[in-house]
């Protein structure tokens, strides 16, 4: 299986401030009742974006000027909570291609990488700088450079980190492990043969 080599993601960005934005906030559990992921995008951040009657609440994603953004910026510990892949799926289906935050919850980070969504970490100050630039001009092009581990925007550049294993997977087109895992079948059966509890 050949996958896209994701060395960088360029596009407009939107800043959703806050720390500890958990998976229940990203996609409320009641929208997880589905047997496919299609259509999850419209429920992204639903409860913070919509009133009970379906009208909009003030939220960056509701602002017309940020429509079409493909890069999501946020604070610390983004994606904490459940292992549900519905959260990164909703983010991807909504149209985001990369994320930048101070740091990410472990499972969320892994789930994003597997979907080919680079999760770059940057310092709070630098995220504030990017946020200020897009606030001043929502059309600003932001480049999340996975390979060089930097973020460029409006003539500025800040340092970003994409953890080694994830970066390697993304830039070499190995972010979805299935191909390599399938290749290892003989070795898998050998290892399994040494473990009595796996006997059929």
């Amino acid at each position: 299986m050949s996958l896209e080599k994701i060395t960088q993601v360029a596009g407009r960005a939107v800043y959703v401030p806050g720390n500890d934005i958990d998976t229940d906030r990203i996609i409320p559990a009641r929208f997880m009742k589905c047997v496919t992921f299609d259509g999850l995008g419209e429920f992204l951040f639903y409860d913070v974006r919509k009133n009970a009657d379906g009208t909009d609440k003030p939220h960056p994603l509701n602002e017309p000027r940020f429509k079409g953004a493909t890069i999501l910026l946020s604070g610390a510990n983004f994606g904490c909570g459940s292992s549900r892949e519905h959260a990164p799926q909703a983010i991807q289906k909504y149209g985001f291609r990369a994320m930048v935050a101070e740091n990410f919850a472990e499972i969320f980070f892994g789930n994003c990488t597997t979907l080919g969504i680079p999760c770059a970490t940057a310092s709070r100050e630098d995220i504030a700088k990017i946020a200020a630039a897009i606030e001043a001009n929502p059309q600003t092009e932001v480049v999340v450079d996975v390979a060089k581990q930097e973020i460029r925007f409006g003539g500025q550049s800040v340092k970003a980190t994409v953890r080694d294993a994830a970066r390697d997977a993304l830039v070499n087109g190995r972010w979805d492990a299935i191909g390599e895992l399938l290749e290892g079948k003989d070795a898998v059966l050998r290892t399994a043969g040494k473990l009595p509890y796996l006997a059929a």
Binding site: V35, F37, S83, E85, A105, N111, D168, I178, V188, L195
Partner: protein, 475 residues
């Protein structure tokens, strides 16, 4: 060289190194449920792949099942579609399914141990973050995403980076009225909700040695709330005694061999840890949360934090956000906070001993007027045991609704939900905004006995006072 359990289990299951530096790790036991698996089967079909070892995947249905009725179709067509999809997938791929009429259905993290599927020295994965529960048996158990479910179905492996290991020693005897739930709430409060990122937690010390398997499961369950994807306790005689005679436990000669092998997985004396934390059992009090993450906890005797006394601007804003959502006053005691709902159940505290302990004190007491109280056994097995011991009746007599097995009010995927800004005293594991089904619903996490105390008084209470716990124990 002395090795930790984590290292030994990892080494026994490591298939090979992958190009990105991760390990292809064999997953011996795979558990699935209706919420996160259907999309994985869809991906499998898209790729034209088969399930490599169907006999190593076990399914149950828990999140979406209504707990007040048994008959199908469910009133929610989506819930019905999900259970049917799981039936279809298990059927097509030859996977054992503990369906609703099997008498074995329940929350996946309760069913696995109960059936003896969860065993020491094994690797376990499930598309659910509370998979860490199974670590109580000395297994390395991971919560995984849907794409990884696909990987495990197709290859019985997944790609993973090795974790660091933090040993958490809790030593001494817990005070009366203090439970395993308080231990883990205390650990999370102490180390923070991100404290465990990148770590497996090894829980040890005399407190854990003395714990039953169910108590160990309660602690391991919430490892993820402390940021640790994996939490485990070394297997010992308590573990083996629990597993003996369970449906999937080895039998006869195979049992003796298994016990010997299981024992060998326990961490060696003097092995190296990446970090060690020591906690004294006597320092742990009945703990309740006041905020919107499980680390925002205090002892029942403390007052609600004041943003004014926060040490950092970050902390200040997170306290403010939590208090605004919870509608609580800074500086006020948490004790006495009025509740609307009491929920007793979930994969954290929905096992026999949880109900048994509460029933001891609940006899002759009544749920306070205006409080909706529900008790939900974590599995049909737990429900049957409670019924055989008359525990369900104690709850009913006290004014609790006694339900069928499922996740129920732990999360908003079935009809059991908070309404508006109702405040729920809950034995579950997450107090995130909207977690219990209403976008403004509020959750206070606590031990089962504290839930019972809140139910009978209509407010957050100290169970030790309400039920005169100290005296009872001293007699």
């Amino acid at each position: 060289m002395a090795k930790s359990l984590f290292q030994k289990v990892w080494d026994a299951h490591a298939v090979r190194n992958l190009a990105n530096g991760q390990t292809q790790l064999l997953i011996g036991t795979h558990l699935i449920h209706e919420v996160t698996s259907p999309q994985a089967f869809g991906m499998l079909r898209d790729l034209g792949l088969k399930v490599l070892m169907p006999h190593r995947t076990f399914a149950t249905v828990d999140h979406i099942v209504p707990t007040d009725r048994f008959d199908e179709p469910y009133s929610d067509p989506l819930a019905q579609a999900m259970i049917q999809e799981l039936r279809k997938n298990c059927d097509e791929f030859g996977i054992t399914f503990f369906d609703r009429h099997s008498g074995k259905q329940g929350i996946v993290h309760i069913v696995g141990p109960e059936q003896g599927i969860t065993q020491p020295g094994t690797t376990i994965a499930c598309g659910d973050s509370h998979t860490s529960t199974h670590g109580a048996f000395g297994a390395i158990a991971f919560g995984i995403g849907t794409t990884q479910i696909r990987d495990v179905l197709a290859t019985q492996t997944m790609a993973l980076g090795r974790l660091k290991v933090r040993r958490i020693n809790v030593d001494g005897k817990l005070r009366p009225g203090v439970y395993a739930k308080d231990v883990i709430l205390h650990i999370i409060r102490t180390l923070g909700v991100n404290g465990g990122t990148g770590y497996a937690y090894e829980y040890a010390g005399s407190t854990f040695d003395a714990f039953t398997m169910e108590e160990r499961m309660t602690v391991c369950n919430m490892s993820i709330e402390g940021g640790a994807r994996v939490g485990y306790v070394n297997p010992d005689e308590t573990t083996f005694a629990y597993l003996k005679g369970r449906p999937y436990s080895p039998k006869g000669k195979a049992w003796d061999e298994a016990v010997e092998r299981w024992r060998s997985f326990a961490s060696d004396e003097g092995c190296a840890y990446d970090d060690v934390v020591n906690i004294r059992a006597e320092d742990i009090a009945p703990t309740v949360t006041w905020g919107i993450n499980p680390g925002q906890g205090i002892s029942i005797l403390e007052t609600i934090p004041d943003p004014a006394s926060a040490k950092a601007p970050d902390e200040k804003s997170s306290i403010e956000e939590a208090l605004a959502y919870m509608k609580l006053k800074p500086g006020a005691p948490i004790k006495g906070t009025k509740i609307d709902v009491a929920f007793m159940g979930s994969c954290t505290n929905g096992r026999l001993s949880d109900f048994q302990e509460v029933a001891k004190y609940l006899k002759g007491r009544r749920v306070a007027p205006g409080v909706k109280a529900i008790a939900v056994p974590g599995s049909q097995g737990v429900g049957a045991l409670c019924a055989s011991l008359g525990i369900d009746q104690v709850f009913r007599d006290a004014g609790f609704e006694w339900r069928e097995a499922g996740c129920s009010m732990c999360l908003a995927m079935n009809p059991d939900k908070l309404i508006g800004d109702q405040l729920c005293a809950s034995s579950s594991n997450r107090n995130f905004k909207g977690r219990q089904g209403s976008p403004t619903g509020r959750t206070i996490l606590m031990s089962p006995l504290m839930v019972a105390a809140a139910a009978v008084t209509g407010q957050v209470s100290d169970a030790r006072e309400v039920f005169e716990v100290e005296e009872l124990v001293e007699v």
